[in-house]
Symmetry: C2
Subunit: 153 residues, 2 copies
Amino acid sequence: MLSTEQILEVMSGQGLRITDQRKTLAKLFGENKGYLSAKDVYEHMGRKYSGLSFDTVYRNLRVMEELGVLEQIVFEDGVKFKGSCNHQDHHHHMICLQCEKTYPINFCPMNLTDTPDQFRVVKHKFEVFGYCKECEENREEELVAAANHKKGV
Amino acid sequence: MLSTEQILEVMSGQGLRITDQRKTLAKLFGENKGYLSAKDVYEHMGRKYSGLSFDTVYRNLRVMEELGVLEQIVFEDGVKFKGSCNHQDHHHHMICLQCEKTYPINFCPMNLTDTPDQFRVVKHKFEVFGYCKECEENREEELVAAANHKKGV
DNA sequence: GTTTCTGCAAATCGTTTGCAAAGCT
DNA sequence: AGCTTTGCAAACGATTTGCAGAAAC
């Protein structure tokens, strides 16, 4: 993962101006492991900048994605962003459906996949979804609480 | 793949009425191996039905997806549909970036993936993108043509 | 001082909805 | 006939744009 400072360095290195909004964005993605939607980002930033507009968020997310400091993924419920893994080695991710944090998978199925010469492979996607330990524990607690409630406890 | 007739059977079996529009939709997905966007579908159908509305297309695509006769995938450039594979065994797809036809991969990387007990896996996605033989040949022809053009041939 | 960035408002895109008329069984 | 489906128009949410003023270099 790129740090807050690294993100800012890349941006200023490309001649982009470092505004307060961009500092906050860099910090947000430098410290957060999970995926955030544009709305999430807007809400996070809205705390610091009362007069913040949605389009500034969108514009900066796009710029940062084009620069490569952010990774963009299309989920079923929309587009989300996270800081780039400064990926020297190719890898995949397990993604928690609850908190949307990601965990690396150091295994690429592509090496093992039979690709007939009738098909020229360009790229591939391997994503595993589920629940991480923390979220799983919270879920269990909730289920127990719900069950107790049902029993009238 | 479900045939045109099978699609219609499922639909009427669920009490849905078989309208001309739906017959055309069933035929389209019964005979087409690739992914189609709502717009693609609208344009295909527009040839037969001059007074066709977009929302009818959307409504029917959703109904058919809920019924399970269509599969829906979110691509980078939007939602697309294709007729369901009715084969019961789990598999993945190679998808041609040009024609968007799909080819089955009879291999699931999930079996080989180390899933630490810290993570409860719910679902996974494995998709391979590239160019199928046909499209690849067309591409080559184009490249050759372009090269010749450049040389002034 | 020049260029880039921001906020506003308005535009656009893809998709969904309410409703009256038309179509299927 | 009775219910479903259609087309229209209008609404909707997410994202993008043009523009004038503000901020960074």
